[in-house]
Amino acid sequence: MQLEMGTFPVASIEFAEETAWDDGNLRINREELLGLILRQGDLEWADIDITSPGDSVRLVNLKDLYEIKSKVDGPGTVYPGVFGRSVETVGQGRTHRMGGVAVGLLVDDEHLTAGERAWPHEGGNQKKSEQSRTHARFIDMSGPGNLSPYNSLNLLCLTIYAPADLNHEDRYTALRTAVLRVIDRLAETIADQTAPESEVFNTDVENPDLPGYVFIPHLASGEWQAEAGPRSNFGAAIYGQTRLSSPWMLYPTEMMDGAVMGTYMLGRPASWQLSNSPIVAELSRRHGKTCNFLGCLIQRTNWTTQPEKEMAAERAALMAKRLGAAGAIVTTDLRGQRFLETALTVQACERQGIATILLTEEEDNEFGTAPPLLVSFPEVTSIVSSGTGGVEEPFPAVERVIGSRDPSDEWLQELPAIHGSYGSSYLADYYGFGYNSFEDF
């Protein structure tokens, strides 16, 4: 399975008459894209903003981040399987993507009740009670809160007013499909052009002298709370499948094509991150040189009983072993029981003789009084910390707020520092983009 990834760098974005990519400049016809967002009549208001790192801008209500790309040669379509898109296997042929840019989905849902707003975007905990939400929901484009990957991406921000008259499933579908219409349109502009940069990924041929590695990302499933049942569109999807399942084995190039996308919780933008996983990219590049990259085992979490969690962990470990893995890199995407399930996979892999590294965010250390991880098994011995998700200095006042139809003046003001992951969810780094460690490693 070979994928040629052509990259079209985007150094600047501007509004223009015509939607086009030309020599690093992405031009956007604002009215055309707004028309695409609102086309189906289920959304009443949307806005489009452009921002770049260094701007005095605060993003609020950011729900997900997407890469602009399209399949230009070979089978399938990027972001396969979701919302009725083809499930034909991707990861082959040629894909064109834009680099240095991402599309943000910002959903203004302030007018909804806590219950309406909570699901699907915020998860179950906030279903029943009104919680203080302001502190956790922003990204600054400059200052101490402008961390990777937001410090290296030009953003095209689609702010959409959440429709109140749809049920959860329909609201979720309306918002996400609107973004995909924009993505597909923008990617058309580079479909027929020659990519300035190109890289070929192919992990088919293994070198028997090199150790085999697998990547096991854990993605929470919303099946247990999805009102539409296990076939809900809601949450992180593998070819559109969101339900709890035994691990799915994917080729790394499938992930690069967006076969795994979506996000479980508020403020955990993940689609761009999953397509651009540094682990997937780097292991693919090292394939045949220093290791064999045997594949990605996408493990679902949020099993509801302890025996289920233990069984799921064991299945992932046995699959890794059968693939010939000598080593595994394991990540998680949420705290709580999802972290327990992730740690169980590490334990199961180690018991199968697979040297396993856990890449994870740390818990808030509560000023030195709390342990860095929720659970600790003796088998969990190799850990890479991506920090606590905290920023220890205030977030300066900003000139502009993006993500709200009628932003509160409070958003413009200086905001207090966030100590550890209890306060901020946006700053979580589950895939190793930054070096936001509480202590340098």
Binding site: W224, T304, T305, Q306, Q337, L340, A343, F377
Partner: protein, 66 residues
């Protein structure tokens, strides 16, 4: 495994993450009976000396008069 990880002295085995004190698969009557058994187990746990993480299983609890 979990007792070790949780580092708690007394642990009462529940059912599911979102139903710690009952089982929605049971009839209302049996669910209430199970909930009672779990609470009884917790009370027994509190009255039992332990010298390390110890699991108390509601399945081992004898039915109490309601």
């Amino acid at each position: 495994m979990i007792p070790f990880a949780a580092k708690a002295g007394r642990i009462v085995r529940g059912m599911r993450v979102e139903h710690v004190c009952g089982d929605p698969n049971l009839s209302e009557e049996n669910d209430a009976r199970l909930a009672r058994r779990i609470v009884d187990t917790a009370l027994r746990a509190l009255q039992t000396e332990v010298d390390g993480p110890t699991v108390f299983d509601p399945a081992e609890e004898t039915a109490s008069a309601t």
